[in-house]
């Protein structure tokens, strides 16, 4: 697992490696490798993270299929090579945890990952056991972040997670939701509980989080991980037949996916987005979006209005 020093050292080495291979890369990718993804820090904590992570919902649930396990490891290799760190999974995601573990082992990349997983059980006494099982699947000693999945029995699990954090059994803790659900409950928890991260859905068409949760996260120094940036691919599929507006070039976006990610990352409360993918090209494209320039408020409005209208 990664501490701050090892993450920074890795980025330096990756920068040198990227410089050596610039001539072989397309221009946009070369720029991204050169700069590396934007880094965000967690206020009040000694933690910095690249602003684009890797989700595993659906995409990494490949069972025992060796060809697909290796394809997932290739995605992880491109992710780490491009400067990514946070990978997010859950016991709910079928064999995804095992796939991540396979990739980390194959790539010998345990020191490169910021491991984020979840507790997902109604049994309030089962959190520790489940987190141990998850760590076994990941083949890591402990997680960098453990979150209560979809707020399931969050009172009991946050008690467990707080104790684990105090013991050093996990670095940071948090809560998650998706699809814009249970925001009021999440707000109450953010106000009353000492958590490090929240995870929620946010993109140019799902902007409910802007009303209260994102400002509150900023105020309380809570990191924000954004899931479903592309609505599980539905958003980018819908936009695929539409031409990218000329003004996308103002922020260096070469695709709708990059424009969407830039919109998300331009919100000052957002720590990182975790798009999931099965394709190496998409990993590189996503990481390439995590760099300056990012859209200003006027352009953010324009991006959202345009995408909503299409």
């Amino acid at each position: 697992m990664a501490d701050q020093w090892s993450l920074q050292r890795r980025r330096l080495l990756q920068g040198l490696a990227a410089a050596a291979s610039l001539s072989a890369l397309p221009l946009s990718l070369a720029r991204a490798r050169d700069a590396g993804p934007l880094i965000r820090s967690l206020p009040g904590r000694d933690i910095t993270l690249p602003s684009v992570g890797l989700g595993t919902w659906i995409t990494f649930n490949v069972g025992n299929n060796q060809r697909l396990l290796d394809a997932s490891a290739d995605v992880m290799a491109a992710f780490f090579q491009g400067g990514g760190a946070i990978i997010d999974s859950s016991p709910m995601y079928g064999s995804s945890q095992n796939t991540v573990g396979y990739g980390l082992n194959k790539l010998d990349a345990r020191d490169q990952v910021f491991s984020a997983d979840k507790i997902w059980t109604r049994d309030g006494d089962d959190g520790r056991r489940q987190s141990r099982e998850s760590a076994n699947e990941w083949q890591v000693d402990r997680f960098d972040l453990l979150q209560v999945h979809n707020l399931v029995n969050w009172q009991a699990h946050l008690d467990t997670l707080r104790a684990m954090r105090d013991e050093g059994a996990v670095r940071t803790i948090g809560i998650t939701t998706s699809h814009g659900r249970r925001h009021r409950e999440m707000e109450r928890i953010m106000t009353s509980e000492p958590i490090d991260f929240i995870q929620l859905t946010y993109n140019p068409v799902d902007r409910e989080a802007e009303d209260r949760l994102l400002p509150l996260a900023r105020e309380k120094g809570i990191g924000v991980i954004v899931n479903r940036p592309f609505r599980r691919g539905a958003l980018t599929e819908r936009l695929a037949s539409e031409p990218l507006p000329d003004w996308a070039a103002e922020v260096g976006a070469d695709s709708w996916a990059q424009l969407i990610l830039k919109f998300i990352l331009s919100h000052p409360a957002v720590t990182c987005a975790i798009p999931a993918t099965t394709q190496v090209d998409h990993v590189r494209e996503n990481l390439a979006a995590a760099r300056e320039p990012l859209p200003n408020p006027d352009l953010r409005r324009r991006i959202s209005d345009t995408i909503r209208s299409l």
């Binding site: 697909l68 079928g94 599980r232």
Partner: protein
């Protein structure tokens, strides 16, 4: 409940079409000779049901019982469970179905005394064994991912609905209907979530079976107790 209803079937799926059809293709690869044998076995089953002679139905039930256990072990347990934890809930009912078929095999079988059930049963058995596997023509997978009734639960459930409608009645029919009916619902929704139109066909087969279960025609006394 409102939260659950707000999800699209696609949101409830844990896996992608790519992974599911790769799983099916892999299972076909492992049991290729059964995949090839399935249409012939299907023809034999339909022929046997079409003879309206219940004397061989004990053999049919025994075969169906073993098949439910075989599919449970080779597909649900060894393959599907790895990508779908909900299969943990399906294993016990599948094993029970196999056991019930084997118990009924000892008693032998008959022909359903209600004509509509017999004919719908014959139709569903033909559908499950011979027509369902052609579903690969309607979606993105190739013939290597065709799902046949000797290897996969969707066509097995449809075939089973046909067999039990055509051969059982009373409490025995009531005992054998729920599991394949529920699987038709789950399997159909899963296929729709995967973007396959075959899901509609699986749901329609379940709907037809449910319709067939209703007492729509009078009991044909000449078929009562036929062995």
């Amino acid at each position: 409940m409102d939260t659950l209803l707000s999800y699209h079937p696609r949101d409830l799926l844990l896996f992608s079409p790519r992974v599911y059809w790769a799983l099916v293709a892999g299972n076909n690869d492992s049991w290729w000779w059964l995949a090839l044998l399935a249409p012939v076995a299907g023809l034999l089953l339909v022929w046997q049901l079409g003879r309206r002679d219940g004397r061989q139905h004990g053999l049919v039930f025994a075969g169906m019982g073993l098949l439910w256990w075989f599919v449970t072990w080779t597909f649900l347990w060894q393959q599907y469970r790895a990508i779908n934890w909900a299969m943990d809930w399906a294993i016990a009912p599948f094993v029970a179905m196999g056991g019930l078929f084997l118990v009924f095999a000892l008693k032998g079988g008959s022909i359903s005394p209600r004509p509509h059930r017999y004919w719908l049963g014959l139709l569903l058995a033909t559908w499950g064994t011979l027509i369902h596997p052609l579903g690969f023509l309607l979606d993105q997978r190739g013939i290597e991912a065709a799902d046949t009734w000797l290897l996969f639960p969707d066509p097995l459930a449809i075939t089973t609905l046909g067999v039990v409608l055509a051969t059982l009645h009373g409490w025995r029919l009531a005992l054998m209907m729920p599991v394949p009916l529920l699987w038709s619902l789950a399997g159909g929704v899963t296929l729709l979530g995967l973007g396959s139109p075959v899901g509609w066909a699986v749901l329609a087969a379940g709907g037809l079976a449910l319709l067939g279960w209703l007492p729509l025609t009078r009991v044909d006394q000449s078929q009562r107790g036929t062995r």
